[in-house]
């Protein structure tokens, strides 16, 4: 703080009316954007300006604006969530840009995430994968004491790291194959590591992979783009575990 400056920038924003309609880039000029503001606050300024000009604002998904809900989803200058490491779009700040920059903003680019309008895409495929098996089959109530099964701290910590996935879809958007392997592997790993999830691990991994394939996500070819772009630094070693779990489960069939 105290290092606040103002930027003049050019935006090239993808505008698309609906999933079936043709989209195109529109160019906008913005002046006097504070370096202390966030990227989405910069877009708020753009939208406020468009509304003042009696035009329709740019539609984009966003909600918590603190990097945890996974709703924001912009492809900024060729990177999901922008070039910075381990941030979501909402945590990206304008101090990372320079006066006079041109910033290109696109929606997630993946066949499995069709555009709804402008920068907003449909990620319901992720929910469908979760519904296929991303849970432990326990009803509410009648559960033994939480400390009944000790879990070694390193195992719990590893499960936590996998569980930190926010389901934003940056991994899919970054992948040249449009693969959802990092997303699926994060949930499979979390639950396979913990004794509570191990019970159904084999069934789960098969169901989630089958659903992932059915929904049109691509395969993993180990380019590691997903890991590099993941705002929560979910490790690609989870994909290795996913493959292991999957092969073991299939061998038992």
């Amino acid at each position: 703080m105290g290092k606040e400056k103002e930027l003049n920038i050019t935006l090239k924003v993808w505008r698309q009316r609906g999933p079936q309609e043709k989209g195109a880039f529109e160019t906008y000029q913005l002046e006097g954007i504070s370096t202390e503001s966030s990227f989405l606050e910069m877009l708020d300024v753009l939208n406020e300006k468009l509304v003042k000009e009696r035009k329709e604002p740019v539609v984009f998904d966003h909600d918590c604006r603190e990097g945890i809900c996974g709703m924001c989803s912009l492809y900024i200058n060729g990177h999901p969530h922008g070039k910075d490491q381990e941030v979501t779009t909402c945590q990206l700040h304008m101090r990372r840009f320079n006066d006079g920059d041109t910033i290109t903003i696109e929606p997630w680019r993946s066949a499995a995430f069709p555009v709804i309008r402008d920068l907003m895409v449909d990620r319901s495929a992720f929910d469908k994968i979760m519904q296929a098996g991303g849970y432990t089959s326990v009803n509410t109530g009648g559960i033994p004491d939480a400390n009944a099964i000790p879990i070694p701290k390193p195992v719990a910590d590893e499960a936590m790291d996998a569980a930190s996935c926010i389901g934003c879809g940056a991994c899919v958007a970054a992948c040249k194959n449009g693969s959802a392997m990092l997303f699926v592997s994060a949930k499979v790993s979390q639950l396979a590591l913990l004794p509570q999830g191990k019970v159904e691990a084999a069934k789960r991994v098969k169901a989630m992979i089958a659903k992932m394939d059915e929904l049109g996500f691509g395969n993993c070819t180990n380019t590691r783009a997903c890991e590099a772009e993941c705002p929560k630094a979910v490790s690609i070693s989870n994909i290795a575990r996913l493959n292991r779990e999957f092969i073991c489960a299939k061998l038992k069939d």
Binding site: H62, E66, Q91, M130, T140
Partner: protein
């Protein structure tokens, strides 16, 4: 005349919930399938309720405004969840959790509800562990705990600084399982716009498909509102951008009472405001007060030098630092409840001791924790919060203290519910932050997650059956009934009216003005005159909104400005309710601080003889003030005292 019946079961406090469960009516499995339940919201309360009701065999329709249930704002809760497990052997118990919550709420919550909350708290932890929630553990493999404000025990369970995320994902996974089984049907990107009442009972909702703009009708034998709080009335808050109070206002207008609207929680540790295009405020978890020490300079000239950028925190020697919470509250120190910590920060900043360029910030310093524990331990406990802080402010909290300031965070007030979590409209329930029930005038840290999950997993699945047992003969109703048609028309008329104004002010610009009025006059320090001013200004602003707002685009398609306008139309009403409630309550308690009512030391001064009641506001019409009904609060188990966190 309306009377308030809270339906608190008879018997000693510790037996009430057991007695209730032993005698309530149940619905048999074959009949459960025939009953439809609408659950609006997929946060901790909504998702856990939908999942549990689905698991019981009811037919559940679950709605959320986001693209997935996992986005609900419960996800952003950082610090933890309380439970009375006493794993630390430090003297915790159900009674103590109950007592701390009642006292923390400044003796303005219902004893029976709070006791039940404490009772079921332990089951929540068991449930979450079984779902695979990766809580923090000790090296021995058992669960770890930390401390939160307003307690002298360590009863808070946590998953790094992402506890809300992990608990919500647990509930979301349970919900996903039920979707797979076909007991729950999800409606994502849908927004409830009205409740449908047939013969005095809630029988459905009108909702707008946010992608197509289509208005749709849904029937339910019962309707459950789990749509969170109304903190965004202030425009700037720690709530998500989409968090809103509209479902609450829709049911209020249909006759549900709105209870204690003026109880808003101002969280002491948020990142300060940076400028006027700011869209939201970011919370820094209360857990940081376990190890961070809050201070401002002792000398005014040092504060001035910091404000002008001539000095930094590290230039101030220890002896010139005023650790004002430790000084004023030796017994609880930095872990006093939120309302107390917020007011203490305001007091220092009002006197000129603030530590950033606006003078509206205090330091939260980890230098001492790093000296005591080492950087690695601090990083392990708070690493992701430190990272989040650095991303936003570009300052490294390992090297310079954080700057923090209070911000609107949570609303204790909400829809009035009885012991069964039913509103004053039969068949209509409210759970989680959307109801008013358990936190009194101030919520303790790590208790929101506890209440949301308690309501959804362990309370509502019981109490809703007591209502539905009488509904098993009621067939699924057609949504062509005149009540549905009429409710839909009301929604359509409102949208048409908004779209036709075509004025010159954007939705956000009016919302920001609402926020300024609220923060100025209905914020941390309130006065009779200020509240009168607020009510006058709010009436004017409402008039301006309805005559001068501009919404581009069309209504029958995706339209984000229309969504915001509909929510703002309700925030304007909530703001007024908050002001009138604050005006009525001539005392200070918890999050409601009336400057006329304070002790010589500046602490909140309750007026128990006059205001020991829940203020329930009943809608009387578009242009008239609401009617006040009172639910008296009887304290059988606890003695009401002045809250003391000093010794």
């Amino acid at each position: 005349m309306a009377t308030i019946d809270s339906k608190i079961p008879k018997g000693p406090l510790a037996q009430k919930w057991t007695n209730y469960k032993n005698h309530q009516k149940l619905v048999n499995p074959a009949n459960k399938r025939k009953l439809d339940i609408i659950v609006v919201g997929t946060g901790l309360a909504g998702a856990s309720a939908a999942a549990s009701l689905g698991a019981l065999g009811f037919n559940v329709l679950n709605f959320c405004i986001q693209d997935s249930p996992r986005r609900a704002h419960s996800i952003a809760a950082q610090g933890g969840i309380n439970a009375a497990k006493n794993y630390q052997n430090d003297g915790d118990s159900v009674y103590r959790l109950f007592y701390d919550t009642i006292k923390g709420g400044d003796y303005r919550a219902r004893e029976a509800n709070v006791y039940r909350l404490a009772e079921v708290s332990n089951s929540i932890i068991d449930q979450c562990v079984a779902q695979g929630v990766p809580f923090a553990r000790e090296y021995g493999g058992l669960l770890d705990n930390r401390s939160f404000g307003g307690a002298q025990v360590s009863r808070t369970f946590y998953a790094k600084g992402q506890t809300g995320q992990q608990l919500l994902l647990g509930a979301y996974s349970a919900l996903s399982r039920q979707v797979n089984k076909g007991t729950v049907k999800l409606y994502t990107r849908y927004e409830m716009l009205d409740v449908v009442i047939i013969e005095g009972r809630a029988r459905g909702i009108i909702a707008r498909n946010l992608v197509t703009g289509k208005i749709e009708r849904f029937f339910g034998h019962a309707v459950v509102i789990g749509t969170g709080g109304y903190g965004n009335t202030y425009f700037l808050s720690t709530n998500a951008m989409g968090s809103n109070g509209s479902a609450a206002m829709q049911i209020y207008r249909k006759g549900a009472y709105f209870a204690n609207p003026c109880y808003a929680q101002i969280h002491p540790t948020c990142i300060p405001v940076h400028g006027d295009i700011q869209s939201k405020l970011t919370l820094m978890s209360e857990s940081l007060r376990n190890d961070g020490r809050i201070w401002v300079p002792k000398k005014l000239e040092d504060a001035k030098a910091i404000q002008e950028g001539r000095k930094t925190a590290n230039d101030i020697p220890d002896e010139d630092r005023d650790f004002y919470l430790e000084r004023r509250y030796p017994a609880f120190g930095n872990l006093v409840p939120r309302d107390v910590a917020s007011r203490a920060a305001k007091e220092r900043c009002d006197k000129g001791f603030g530590v950033n360029n606006t003078g509206l910030a205090v330091f939260l310093d980890f230098k001492y924790a790093i000296q005591r524990l080492g950087k690695d331990v601090v990083a392990q406990k708070y690493g992701n919060l430190f990272q989040m802080y650095e991303k936003i402010t570009d300052e490294n909290p390992y090297e310079v203290p954080m700057k923090i300031f209070p911000a609107i965070h949570y609303t204790m007030g909400g829809i009035w519910v009885d012991y069964e979590l039913m509103t004053s409209i039969p068949g209509l329930f409210a759970i989680g932050e959307a109801n008013f029930s358990d936190h009194g005038a101030n919520r303790l840290g790590a208790s929101a997650l506890m209440q949301g999950l308690a309501d959804g997993y362990f309370v509502l699945p019981y109490t809703i059956q007591n209502y539905l047992a009488d509904q098993i003969q009621v067939p699924r109703m057609s949504t062509d009934l005149p009540e549905f048609v009429e409710a839909e028309k009301g929604v359509q008329d409102k949208i048409n009216k908004l779209m036709s104004i075509q004025g010159s002010e954007s939705v956000d610009s009016i919302h920001k003005r609402l926020g300024h009025i609220m923060w100025e006059y209905v914020g941390m320090g309130r006065t009779k005159e200020g509240l009168e001013t607020a009510m006058k200004k709010l009436k004017e602003l409402k008039k301006e909104f309805w005559s001068n707002v501009y919404i581009p685009g069309e209504a029958n398609t995706l339209n984000t400005e229309l969504e915001k306008a509909l929510r703002l139309s309700d925030f304007l009403e909530i703001g007024y309710l908050m002001a009138i409630d604050g005006y009525n309550r001539n005392e200070s308690c918890g999050g409601h601080f009336r400057e006329e009512y304070q002790t010589e030391e500046g602490e909140a001064l309750r007026q128990d003889d006059q205001y020991s009641y829940v203020a329930c506001w009943k809608y009387t019409g578009e242009n008239s003030d609401p009617e006040l009904l009172k639910e008296p609060l009887d304290y059988e188990e606890t003695e009401r005292k002045t809250r003391n966190y000093k010794n």
